[in-house]
């Protein structure tokens, strides 16, 4: 019983770790899409900033500097996206896709040019990364039955970016629903004409939104390569940007619901890692194919059965034209 409880807690612990980049990207997506700009370039921005973070950390050994550079690179890509779809009213999906393709190729090419290790960056040592933070008394409280392990395993021992991600959800939620800026941002995505009539610049609002999205994606990328991971590997985002996008749609473009969706994806991933090859009572050994397919199967079930109709912002994907 004790062992089973511990395994469960360790799974929850892993859920948080796996879900962190998804949460950050989902919040980025919410900011961008609530303002009316489709952002499928979460993946590309995350990949590019993961590369930037790992490169800077490998060369300078400064994780905080690496995080800043990662954010800078991601914001730069966001601005390109904004320039194409806000200023020039280009197709938002095409622009996003272009950024993804650019990131996929450029990271490997630059990686080979900088480090000559087949597109990887050097393996990062302890102090070049954000290491886990053990909270005070974690070891003393561990021995308290039942509740001790919750504190020691689940709450303690995460790196700083996990906390930033959770904080990002709170902040996103407050900003979106409780501030004037949030109200205007949502209005820009629903009915930009109305916002414009009120004397607020639609273009400026949308630029602000994609900038915030860039910052969040940059943090997510840095998490992958210098906090959770220890170096850049080509295509290391492995579709996480798209999963975050799906989580955002699951969550109906709302921060808290999106958080739950991200945690669900994270949990399925964590369970899949632990159940694979394990002998379960009554069922026997679960086929690894089934386990690997489980997240996708459940996604379909959840999408069809539980979520209901997802309602995107009314003006999403529509460039704002002030005057014909």
């Amino acid at each position: 019983m004790e062992g089973l409880w511990l395994q469960f807690l360790l799974t929850i612990d892993a859920t948080l770790r796996v879900a962190t980049p998804l949460i950050l990207c989902a919040m980025a997506g919410i900011f961008s899409e609530r303002s009316g700009i489709i952002d499928i370039s979460l993946e590309g921005k995350m990949l590019m900033s993961a590369f930037a973070a790992a490169s800077v950390a490998a060369v300078t050994g400064q994780p905080w500097l690496a995080l800043l550079v990662a954010i800078g690179v991601s914001v730069f890509l966001s601005l390109i996206h904004g320039f194409a779809c806000i200023t020039h009213r280009g197709n938002q999906v095409v622009s996003g896709l272009a950024i993804n393709i650019l990131a996929s190729g450029l990271t490997v090419t630059l990686g080979i040019a900088f480090f000559a290790q087949g597109g990887q960056t050097p393996f990062l040592k302890g102090d070049q990364r954000f290491s886990p933070i053990t909270l005070p008394f974690a070891d003393t409280l561990r021995d308290i039955p039942f509740l001790g392990p919750i504190y020691a395993e689940v709450i303690s021992g995460h790196n700083i970016i996990v906390w930033i991600a959770l904080l990002a959800v709170v902040v996103t939620s407050l900003v979106m629903m409780r501030t004037r800026f949030g109200l205007r941002l949502r209005a820009v995505g629903e009915k930009p004409e109305a916002v414009d009539t009120a004397g607020i610049s639609v273009v400026l609002m949308r630029y602000q939104a994609v900038l915030i999205a860039g910052v969040l994606c940059g943090i997510a990328g840095a998490y992958l390569s210098i906090a959770h991971g220890a170096g850049f590997v080509r295509e290391m985002t492995a579709g996480k940007g798209y999963i975050a996008l799906a989580a955002m749609i699951f969550g109906n473009w709302r921060p808290l619901q999106a958080l739950y969706a991200c945690l669900m994806f994270g949990f399925l991933d964590a369970v899949a890692a632990r159940v694979q090859g394990l002998e379960l009572p009554l069922i026997g050994e679960v086929s690894s194919d089934l386990i690997l397919a489980l997240p996708y199967v459940l996604t379909v079930i959840f999408l069809a059965g539980f979520i209901g109709r997802a309602t995107p912002p009314a003006s999403i994907g529509v460039p704002y034209v002030k005057e014909r």
Partner: protein, 334 residues
């Protein structure tokens, strides 16, 4: 008289041609795959073999580094057009390209590493007995493990990777029949080769369950495996090339796949006129697979462990132990 001179001239001409042919006999070429020749892995292994060949014979080898998948076929065609007599392809991703180009240029010799399912009269194929090398590192893992539990993290769930896993389990069980081996595959799509975050999570899950040595056969995903093991103060085992230096003190050893041997042998055979088509299998006996011992892991390998691994190697060589090949019957008896 004129007739005689003509004959003489023709004779000298023919002789000159023959001498010319003997000197310009071999013009080798190699097409590296994505990652480039200094990738600290597969391609670099091939490059080491090529370098050795060039140093010993003085024959320059034409090289091309593929940077996107469409270039493979073009690169091989161009090598053949430029007069290459033997073209070496690197990695299973080049299989389709080399099959096509080998058919187009029947007079040129071709050779490819890590492919064993093609058939052409001018094509040599190299495969490795990865199960034998995995068996050796399995012995090392079982000797190093204090918990009696070890782990394996594979990349994409394909028979080739199960072959690594099965040999590894065999090696572990040969030392400790009661040992537990946790096995995880990263995924079922090619992205499973480049997902270090998932690799780290799988490794952590195995360490949470008590594993203290984790072997990976997962390409870029393996970086996450090594990192997670190093973070937890446990041991990882590298694969393909010598990965001991990635995290010195945390990598117990590496299962070496000596692609350099295949590259060197290909060009040497071509030079000496011994080139033959068909399938070449490199195992422990041929020096094709091995385990890595260097300064980075010397402190981790005890004398007992070293003796046990060397004994396992000797047993494989003598035929006393036959490591089961998963690909032969899609089954692992261990």
């Amino acid at each position: 008289m004129t007739k005689f001179i003509k004959m003489l001239a023709a004779g000298i001409g023919a002789m000159a041609m023959m001498i010319g042919a003997a000197v310009a006999d071999i013009k080798p070429a190699v097409v590296y795959d994505m990652g480039g020749k200094f990738d600290k892995s597969f391609n670099e292994g091939v490059w080491n073999g090529v370098k050795k060949f060039t140093e010993e014979t003085g024959i320059e080898v034409m090289e091309f580094e593929v940077t996107n998948p469409n270039q493979r076929e073009q690169a091989m065609q161009r090598m053949a057009e430029r007069g290459a007599t033997i073209v070496l392809g690197v990695g299973f991703a080049q299989a389709d390209a080399i099959a096509k180009v080998a058919a187009e240029y029947p007079d040129v010799q071709f050779s490819i590493i890590d492919v064993g399912w093609l058939d052409a009269p001018n094509l040599r194929q190299y495969v490795f007995k990865e199960h034998e090398g995995s068996y050796l590192v399995g012995v090392a893992a079982a000797m190093a493990s204090q918990s009696g539990k070890v782990g394996f993290v594979g990349g994409m769930d394909i028979p080739l990777i199960s072959k690594f896993a099965c040999g590894y389990v065999g090696g572990v069980k040969s030392v400790n029949a009661n040992a537990t081996v946790y096995q995880n595959m990263t995924g079922t799509t090619p992205s499973a080769w480049n997902d270090p975050a998932k690799g780290a999570e799988l490794t952590k899950s195995q360490i949470d369950r008590g594993a203290d040595v984790v072997y990976h056969a997962a390409g870029g995903t393996g970086m996450g495996v090594i990192q997670a093991a190093a973070d937890a103060g446990k041991l990882a085992i590298g694969v393909d090339s010598n990965q001991n230096g990635i995290a010195p003190g945390s990598v117990l050893t590496s299962m070496l796949k000596r692609v350099d041997v295949a590259a060197y042998e290909t060009f040497m055979d071509a030079k000496n006129g011994n080139f033959s088509a068909g399938l070449h299998t490199l195992g422990v006996a041929e020096g094709g697979v091995d385990w890595a011992l260097d300064d980075n892991n010397a402190s981790l390998v005890s004398a007992d462990m070293k003796a046990a691994i060397e004994k396992a190697r000797a047993d494989i060589l003598s035929g006393k132990v036959t490591v089961h090949n998963f690909e032969s019957d899609s089954n692992c008896p261990y």
